[in-house]
């Protein structure tokens, strides 16, 4: 079954001329809590790319993504999403962005359909189109039989699928996911992965953090490794192997990752 391409009649205000080449450009991004969480991070993600961001616990992955999604202001640096300065024009940047976290934050007292109607309304999607998108997503994510039930009785996997449907109902150009597969069973995880790959095939850009290295290895076109708030390695799996000093085609991502993060950040 193919997820049909969701069309949205929406203007993307403030789009720059280089929007087609770079989905996300992050420069000199910094955020300090008790210690630097993100420390001068530079990152470029191409449009239509599936990018996995890896790193040990506390490396700064979630903080980075939360700043990109507009959930947290950086202390310094710039974030450009499809040519839009996300710090200067946050509303325009958010219009083409979606955020999914590891802990699905949905409204227990709403049904999935109501939740999607609410999200589509927030993003200003035309109602008829929003309803078609919502029903398509619910069907694709096997939530259609539960479309009129309140989410309070849902399992973690079902809640995560509702959250993912919410992220996709407004057809974002950039989807930011923080550990979206945590706690999902094999079937739900497969569904979520399939949906994300479909979206990338349709031209959407995905940036995702994960601790499941196999997922990054199989799905991502490029992988970034972050440690102590800095990007310490980036590239395809073969490029990462070379950066880790391993033999191409001979080492798993897990070995490469452990080698890279074992070395002190430059």
């Amino acid at each position: 079954m193919q997820l049909r391409e969701i069309a949205v009649n929406r203007a993307a205000p403030g789009m720059g001329t280089d929007a087609e080449t770079s989905a996300l450009v992050v420069q000199g991004l910094r955020k300090t809590f008790q210690r630097p969480a993100v420390d001068g991070l530079d990152l470029v993600i191409r449009a239509g790319e599936f990018y996995a961001l890896l790193g040990p616990n506390g490396a700064g992955k979630t903080t980075t993504l939360r700043m990109v999604a507009g959930l947290m202001p950086p202390d310094a640096g710039s974030i450009t999403i499809f040519g839009i300065d996300a710090l200067a024009k946050p509303t325009a940047a958010k219009q083409i962005t979606a955020w999914v976290s590891d802990e699905p934050m949905i409204y227990d007292k709403l049904t999935p359909l109501e939740y999607l109607a609410f999200v589509a309304g927030l993003w200003g999607i035309e109602p008829g189109l929003a309803e078609r998108n919502a029903r398509e997503l619910l069907r694709w994510l096997e939530l259609a039989p539960h479309a009129e039930e309140r989410c309070e009785g849902f399992s973690k996997g079902m809640r995560q699928k509702v959250a993912l449907a919410g992220a996709l109902v407004h057809d974002p150009k950039l989807i930011i996911l923080d550990e979206p597969l945590t706690g999902l069973d094999a079937r739900a995880a497969r569904l979520v992965k399939d949906v994300l790959l479909q979206k990338v095939a349709q031209g959407c850009t995905v940036i995702m953090t994960t601790h499941i290295l196999e997922v990054a290895e199989r799905m991502a076109e490029r992988i970034g490794v972050i440690a102590q708030g800095k990007l310490i390695a980036e590239g395809t799996l073969d490029e990462l192997r070379r950066q880790a000093g391993s033999k191409v085609g001979d080492t798993s991502l897990e070995d490469v990752f452990l080698t890279l993060v074992a070395e002190p950040a430059p």
Partner: protein, 518 residues
């Protein structure tokens, strides 16, 4: 780990220590919201409150220190009324705690999988409910009892004994009530039902007394009611068993003994009778918590959000807030509970409708105060109790617009609640109704603004503990509501002195704005 430790289950005393440590940490968390640095200021604050309460108690009860058993039925009636009020508050607290005992702790799986008897642990926890109910009652009653002891002699110390007996009895009855709800409604509905029962019990007695007082003697005063001719005419003779708790408080040792034994029996009997089923209730509660397939649909409120239709983002946010509130009976009952206290003034309004408009003046502060409290509660739910903060923060809406929409949702909800009162008032005096409307709007808007200034991120289920988010916000909200209530009352009396409390309310708002978290 030694073999001995592994083979011998821990004794009851060890479990009791463990339970008391958990309860103590719960209490500390409730007061400090988990911030260690708050412990010292909380301790200072508690000492300040205790001292202030003693002064307040002195002003309120010192003149009654000479009351004795010989003072007659009118003294018994007044004391029994106070005991009744305290007991229903204790019962309300105990029902809530017993419910939390079955649903609240996340350690049931650990306990069930351990060699410890679940029945003994739950029995211990019911006992800890009694201890905490007694402790809370004593904390509130102590200043009054101390003043009476100071002025009237040590016989008043018996009041502490009555407090203990009352706490035990309240806990026993709470256990029976909760067990009855489990049997009648099932585990899934019991939590909500018992929370509502607890809230209603806590307010029902005082409201019922006020209503009867208004209807019978035309006053809102409970103390005047208990000593009124109407009550005394129907009161039993001085030897009635009804006066036993009052006699015990006034220093009759035999009465105290009977009250203490009765309280103990009311606590122990259900414990013994229900001991074998406590584990079943706990497991049913745990199963209800994790059960899936609990299908609830849109219901009537689906009208607000159920359809895809053109709408502004502000309109969507407003409707979302209303739907979430209407679909959560516990939250709705908690936030609207204050409205129950409007029943007595509503009856007062109804009864005095035919008399002069002057009677309406007394309603101005009541309605204004209630609007401030309701507005604050609803604003906390809308602003701090947002269930999907990431979704809202990542949506393409300016934060200022989002906050404005939430404030509008609160103000409209408050307006809907108070309009019937204002219309009734306007029928008698349009001028008074306009003044009260302004008071309601200002009080609700001030409380809402304070909640916006001190917004934090919290779960909606912590609504009852929202004051721990910010003590400053809690007090600022209370002070501003009181100041606006005073303003409305004086303005309704046609005096320019109303500008005084209005200035205080504005000062409170300015102060809150200056010290708000940046």
């Amino acid at each position: 780990m030694s073999g001995d430790t592994a083979l011998h289950p821990r004794p009851l005393a060890w479990l009791a220590r463990q339970e008391s440590r958990l309860s103590w940490r719960d209490l500390v968390w409730l007061m400090t919201a988990g911030y260690r640095w708050r412990s010292r200021s909380v301790a200072i604050w508690l000492i300040f409150v205790a001292v202030a309460m003693h002064f307040l108690a002195y002003g309120m009860v010192a003149r009654f220190a000479g009351v004795t058993e010989e003072s007659g039925v009118d003294a018994f009636s007044a004391v029994t009324g106070s005991i009744g009020l305290s007991f229903f508050l204790m019962l309300s607290q105990a029902v809530e705690q017993v419910t939390r005992l079955f649903y609240g702790r996340g350690d049931l799986d650990l306990l069930k999988s351990s060699p410890v008897s679940l029945r003994r642990v739950l029995g211990l926890r019911v006992f800890s409910v009694a201890v905490s109910t007694i402790a809370m009652t004593v904390f509130v009653a102590a200043p009054f009892i101390d003043v009476l002891v100071l002025r009237g002699g040590p016989r008043w110390l018996c009041a502490y004994g009555v407090s203990v007996a009352g706490g035990l009895a309240a806990s026993g009855i709470a256990l029976v009530l909760t067990a009855a709800l489990f049997d009648l409604m099932g585990a899934r509905r019991t939590r909500l039902a018992s929370q509502i029962v607890a809230a209603v019990i806590g307010s029902a007695f005082i409201i019922a007394i006020q209503v009867v007082a208004i209807v019978s003697i035309g006053t809102l005063s409970q103390s005047a009611f208990f000593q009124s001719d109407v009550v005394l005419a129907h009161a039993p003779g001085p030897q009635s068993l009804l006066w036993l708790p009052a006699r015990a408080i006034l220093g009759d040792p035999a009465a105290l003994l009977i009250v203490a034994v009765t309280g103990l029996a009311i606590f122990v009997a259900p414990m013994l009778l229900l001991a074998g089923r406590l584990g079943d209730y706990a497991m049913a509660a745990a199963a209800a918590d994790v059960a899936t397939g609990h299908v609830l649909g849109k219901g009537m409120t689906g009208f607000f959000l159920g359809r895809f239709r053109p709408s502004s983002s502000a309109g969507l946010l407003r409707r979302k807030e209303w739907v979430l509130l209407l679909r959560d009976p516990w939250l709705a009952s908690q936030s609207l509970m204050q409205l129950l206290y409007l029943i007595p003034p509503a009856i007062f309004l109804w009864l005095s409708y035919g008399s002069s408009a002057g009677g309406l003046v007394v309603l101005a502060p009541v309605l204004t105060m209630a609007a401030g409290q309701l507005g604050g509660g609803l604003a906390w739910l809308a602003v701090s109790g947002e269930d999907a903060p990431d979704l809202i923060a990542s949506a393409p809406i300016a934060p200022r617009r989002m906050i404005a929409a939430k404030v509008e949702s609160v103000m409209i909800a408050v307006l809907i609640v108070f309009v019937p009162f204002l219309v009734a008032m306007a029928g008698r005096s349009i001028r008074t109704a306009l003044i009260v409307a302004a008071g309601i709007a200002l009080a609700a808007a001030s409380s809402t603004l304070i909640q916006v200034m001190f917004r934090s991120q919290a779960k909606r289920r912590y609504f009852r503990r929202r004051q721990t988010s910010s003590r400053i916000a809690t007090f600022a909200e209370a002070f501003s509501s009181v100041a606006w209530a005073g303003t409305a009352a004086i303005a309704a009396s046609e005096s320019w002195m109303a500008l005084g409390p209005a200035a205080v309310a504005l000062l409170v708002l300015t102060g809150a704005w200056l010290i708000r978290p940046k």
